[in-house]
Symmetry: C2
Subunit: 359 residues, 2 copies
């Protein structure tokens, strides 16, 4: 079993490397969860619990506020980028950006910060990179919502050391055109559903996406075809064509408003909402969030992708993404992290988690 | 082995039923070819040869003209419509329309017409319902072109007892749009190839197909999307979309002219010609063709689908389709033939093949 010793736990860079060198592709997080559980168990300032491959730890120091730090432990499949290697200031390897450099920061502070300014909760969870039903945070949000209770949550996802607040919602809709089959040699006897899809694509091509600013964060929406498929056989006029549309919507729309908008865009066409996930407002008026923004010292930006921040938002907990990784390198073969950013984020978090109230 | 006795060979309706009741899905024509070869071998007025599952027979009576009668022996896969059954004037079953009722007529005259007005050639061939490379007629047209030599050819494909002359050409072209991938949450960083396909579909939807009359036969062209496919993943702006287009063109265009037209319609777009087959002009000015049209007593119509008629046209032999089946029932579960049309076609053919020259 991999051992995270005291010296490693004390150094976020060494700890990042150690976590990355424990293979943990989604669904295979036993070893990394065991190592994290063992690293935290027995520390006087923490209560540690485990549920499947979610490791949860908390302080109970009677502070007026509680802050959650959370990170997932899984990675996308290895791609000839395991184990890590370091060249100068760069650490290369699967998980370095998304998100073991962030998870290492949470684990570092869990293990070493015995007297934080706020009470702290830590969640290390599995299966974030795959379908939502298997996501460990999603699971415990339903079965152990008390674990997630906090005044403010920090998800240490890659943000390149900036604060990304809230997140956009996402909705998948199928826009279907229908027609009548006919032999291609007598096509006028049929009605070509693929030709009818011109109208769907024209509306998409003409669509002007909205930009909106919420709590000082800019969100830019998008309405895009992800797939188009139609066709029966090489000599048959097709009677169905489906355009799968993805709508990314700013968090001032809820799912119902997003659906109404999609239906308005495609008015007169056959629209089926396949699934959706709500966005999350930035929630930066919460004092613990404001203090964190101040500690970072840079204005927050809106998170455009969907992240687990929305799971906290659904529980009424303001949450932001903040981590040293570069989101543009996530899931790539040449995934890497800049070591100075790990140290910068560690410094910001230390300042935030230890400063005097109001300092 | 199935035996086609003298009594069956003398009755085109009984012979249709006997041929239909020999299972012969494409690729499985040994039994039916054996039965046909055996039925014709030993007849004084015929020379019989065989090449794979193509059975060829000919008279050599020194007549000034030679007429070919041809029929394929295979069917599409059975679909709970085997063996045949008869209800009143209708014979139901796989192959009844396409085209064993026609093939039976050719076999009937091969076996029984000992003193025809023209010299006759007969070809019974396999694998017409599948890819062209396996088509028996296609094969012998290359390896034994002398078998196909004739002044006029009758393909006994289903035409509902009318004459369908010539055939349209067919061309498959891929029209491709490209773009740039991006994460769906940051779609403006990419360029959506599916949205760009709107232009392809708009041109198809606006396209006005030409109608043209050649030798008194009307041909109606068609330009249609058969398939459209685009998409990478549910969260990725797609960078490619392909519309597979089928162009059915009248036989006054050759393949080069058809390609030029397709490229003109999609000018400015990325067009790849995937494959094509030329059409065939009706060729009804040939005397043996004119006499046949007169024997049928109804004006010919243009054949809109592609058929093996084009193989004869490629050899400079005028050819028409003429058979008792209903082309709209071909390949259907409820395939059937009207028995009186088998008798009507037999009567027309007998008149044509036995009448005095100029009668």
């Amino acid at each position: 079993m991999a051992v995270l010793d005291e010296k490693t736990l004390a150094d976020p860079v060494a700890l990042t490397r150690a976590l990355c060198d424990i293979e943990s592709v989604s669904g295979d997080e036993d070893a990394i969860s065991d190592a994290i559980e063992k690293a935290l168990t027995g520390l006087d300032h923490l209560t540690v619990e485990r549920d499947g491959n979610v490791v949860f730890a908390r302080t109970d120091l009677g502070r007026p506020r509680r802050v959650m730090l959370a990170g997932h432990t899984d990675t996308v499949p290895l791609n000839d980028n395991f184990p890590t290697r370091t060249e100068g200031d760069i650490m290369w390897g699967c998980g370095t950006s998304d998100m073991k450099s962030g998870t290492a920061l949470a684990l570092h502070f869990a293990a070493t910060l015995t007297d934080p300014r706020h009470d702290l909760s830590f969640a290390f969870y599995d299966c974030e990179e795959i379908e939502a039903e298997r996501n460990g945070l999603n699971r415990v949000a339903k079965t152990r919502p008390e674990w997630l209770a906090a005044d403010f949550a920090l998800l240490l996802e890659p943000t390149y050391a900036g604060v990304e607040a809230g997140c956009q919602g996402t909705m998948r809709a199928d826009v279907r055109t229908t027609g009548t089959r006919a032999h291609a040699a007598r096509s006028w006897l049929g009605s070509n559903a693929v030709h009818s899809a011109a109208e769907v694509l024209n509306r998409l091509a003409r669509y002007e996406a909205r930009k909106v600013t919420i709590d000082g964060c800019d969100y830019r929406e998008g309405l895009n075809a992800m797939f188009i498929n139609g066709g029966v056989a090489g000599n048959v006029v097709p009677d169905e064509c489906v355009v799968q549309v993805n709508f990314r919507f700013a968090p001032d729309r809820d799912e119902a408003a997003a659906e109404a908008h999609v239906r308005e865009v495609f008015a007169g066409l056959d629209v089926t909402i396949a699934d959706s996930a709500p966005g999350a407002r930035p929630g930066l008026d919460e004092p613990a969030a404001k203090e964190f923004i101040a500690a970072v010292g840079r204005p927050p930006t809106g998170k455009l992708g969907w992240t687990d921040v929305a799971r906290f938002a659904a529980l009424g907990i303001p949450a932001v993404n903040y981590g040293p990784g570069d989101p543009n390198l996530a899931h790539k073969q040449d995934e890497r992290v800049e070591i100075p950013l790990i140290r910068e984020c560690a410094e910001v978090l230390r300042r935030y988690l230890t400063a005097e109230e109001g300092a």
